[in-house]
């Protein structure tokens, strides 16, 4: 355009303009997403915990960025690569040019992350849907410190395979309620240490395992096995023996089993006769403790219902329980537990007799000490002791404290005089066993010397205090009387014969301890009769003289 500022006065002002056509092309610009102001709070956490992450996603260009994802990754370094662990992502709306979108959320650090220094990577356009002018500035990072996990995990195995196929699953129930169902062999992590509840799912045709408490420990994985039992084929086993209330199971000793050194009968009944057992196992428990395995029969005969459990000599316990577990060919399982029983030491006592000694000489009427020892346990001391005197056969029976004493004083009498005496000690202990032993060798019992040596014609009253007189033969024609009288207190020097006769007659006629008339020929008759030489006839007549013993 000539004279564009119209400065000149021209003759023709209408021909100043000339033109040429041109094409102007419109070229749009690309957006460019980047991450700024990233934070992690807290930046030091334990594996298994969540932490808050925040940042601003900024579009550096003027061009609009379409909707995209913001990704979070756990990385050993500040550079993103495909091995980094994806912690999650956030969907973002479209972002206009030169604008900013603040983002925040929580991410969970996996339970099994090793402790150490890590990075959380913030990655804009994580799935690469936005074409950017610069694709190399999408990632920002924040260093964090990961400590050892404070949570634990639970791993559950489900049996049998048929139950898994039928839909058997499990889940953890915490204070918030039940979590998601999990399958056989799966592991649930991130549980702070405390007690949780494991629940198994009901599935038709199966009896599910009992729901159970489970205590989770930090940094550990607790394993649990749940066994489903097919319901359509019920099985049941019961236990008859041992039973402390039934002495048909075993001979009891005051309610206790004395079976040490022998065997204990375990008797069970397969209540579901039509179901076949595939395995039967026996266990015992002491004082309510863990079950200890006794024996397993992997080929049980349904008809064999007794097992003799060998009991060692030193197996002595107050609280023993027996459990029998039966597996059935249909997959069923049943178990039964006995009442608590007491097993006592059933070894018989060993008796040692130490007195009388071999060759010992004892005297009639003098005390003879009999001594014995036993090794019987103090918990079941001697209850009865029999002292049998050989060869006479007399037995003295001792109970309680006398039986426990271990000694007894015996007084032999005249009937025991022998050179070959022995004492046999039989001891019954509180464990319903007995022991027997005899005194060593032989001891002798001699007649005692008389208490005093009477003059000829004097006699001594024996131990019984009784005197018996037998009239054998009548001497002849005279008809007299015979008396006996005690000499105690009489002056045998006889200073006055008449007084001595008076005292004698008084004593004889007293009929008491001082004396008796023994026989009177007028009325009594001797045992034997005959004619004496020089006598004309047999004078024996009257009632036979049978004297009662005189005291």
């Amino acid at each position: 355009m000539a004279d564009a500022d119209d400065d000149l006065g021209e003759s023709n002002e209408n021909n100043n303009l000339g033109y040429e056509d041109i094409w102007i092309r419109y070229v749009p610009s690309k957006p460019d997403l980047t991450v700024q102001n990233q934070t992690v709070t807290p930046a030091t956490i334990n594996a298994g915990q969540a932490t808050d992450v925040s940042c601003k996603v900024r579009n550096l260009e003027t061009a609009l960025a379409g909707s995209s994802k913001l990704g979070y990754y756990l990385s050993r370094d500040a550079v993103y690569d495909s091995d980094d662990l994806n912690l999650g992502s956030t969907d973002m709306d479209a972002l206009s040019g030169n604008s900013t979108s603040p983002q925040e959320r929580a991410v969970l650090i996996p339970f099994d992350t090793p402790e150490g220094d890590w990075h959380i990577l913030f990655r804009a356009d994580a799935d690469g849907t936005v074409a950017e002018s610069n694709e190399s500035n999408n990632v920002a990072c924040h260093q964090i410190r990961i400590e050892e996990s404070l949570t634990g995990a639970v791993n559950v195995t489900i049996e049998p395979t048929e139950a898994i196929d039928a839909g058997a699953v499990w889940r953890v129930v915490d204070w918030m309620g039940p979590n998601n169902w999990r399958g056989n062999g799966e592991t649930e992590t991130g549980y702070p240490p405390e007690t949780y509840f494991i629940e198994f799912k009901d599935i038709p045709g199966w009896k599910k395992p009992d729901d159970t408490d489970l205590t989770i420990l930090a940094g550990q994985t607790v394993h649990k096995t749940g066994v489903y039992i097919r319901e359509d084929t019920p099985v049941k086993i019961t236990l008859q023996c041992p039973n402390p209330d039934d002495d048909h199971c075993h001979r009891l000793c005051n309610g206790a089993y004395h079976v040490t050194g022998s065997s204990l009968k375990i008797r069970w009944v397969n209540e579901t006769r039509d179901q076949v057992m595939s395995l039967i196992a026996f266990h015992y428990s002491l004082d309510g403790g863990e079950w200890e395995h006794i024996w397993t029969d992997s080929d049980p005969n349904n008809k064999t219902e007794t097992y003799e459990w060998p009991i060692a000599e030193d197996f002595i316990h107050d609280d023993v329980r027996v459990k029998v577990v039966a597996n059935y060919t249909n997959g069923g399982r049943s178990e039964a537990v006995s009442q608590s029983i007491r097993i006592i030491d059933s070894r018989p006592p060993v008796i040692t007799v130490s007195a009388p000694a071999d060759g010992q000489v004892c005297t009639v009427g003098e005390p003879v000490e009999i001594r014995w020892r036993t090794d019987a346990d103090s918990s079941h001391p001697a209850e009865q002791v029999d002292l049998k005197f050989l060869p006479f056969g007399e037995t003295i029976r001792l109970y309680g404290a006398e039986a426990e004493a271990g000694s007894y004083t015996w007084h032999p009498n005249e009937s025991h005089v022998t050179e070959n005496a022995q004492v046999r000690v039989t001891l019954w202990a509180g464990n319903c066993t007995e022991g027997v032993s005899e005194s060593p060798g032989w001891f002798e019992i001699r007649d005692k010397e008389p208490a005093c040596s009477p003059e000829p014609g004097m006699l001594v009253v024996g131990r019984t205090g009784q005197v018996g007189i037998d009239w054998i033969y009548d001497g002849g024609m005279y008809r007299g009387e015979l008396g006996i009288f005690s000499l105690e207190g009489m002056d045998l020097s006889v200073p006055d014969m008449t007084a001595f006769i008076e005292e004698t007659v008084r004593r004889v006629m007293s009929g008491a301890w001082e004396g008796h008339i023994v026989l009177s020929d007028v009325t009594d008759k001797a045992r034997f009769s005959g004619v004496l030489g020089g006598e004309p006839t047999d004078w024996n007549e009257g009632e036979p003289s049978v004297s009662e013993p005189l005291r």
Partner: protein, 62 residues
């Protein structure tokens, strides 16, 4: 009598203790008592004879 007491026998030859009691001084040989023992200070004869102390038969183990 009690165990250990000494005792003796006395015989009235041809009478009774009752009659002897009525006359203890008698010298009648039918009534005068005879004792089984002899007093060391007396000269009365011992007519019944010595009575030995009986002994229990000893036992022998067969």
């Amino acid at each position: 009598m009690t165990p250990g007491d000494r005792f003796a026998l006395v015989l009235v030859p041809n009478s009774t203790f009752e009659r002897l009691a009525a006359n203890p001084e008698t010298t009648d040989p039918y009534k005068r008592p005879l004792f089984s023992f002899t007093s060391p200070n007396a000269d009365y004869g011992m007519h019944v004879g010595q009575v030995p102390a009986p002994k229990e038969p000893k036992f022998r183990d067969p």
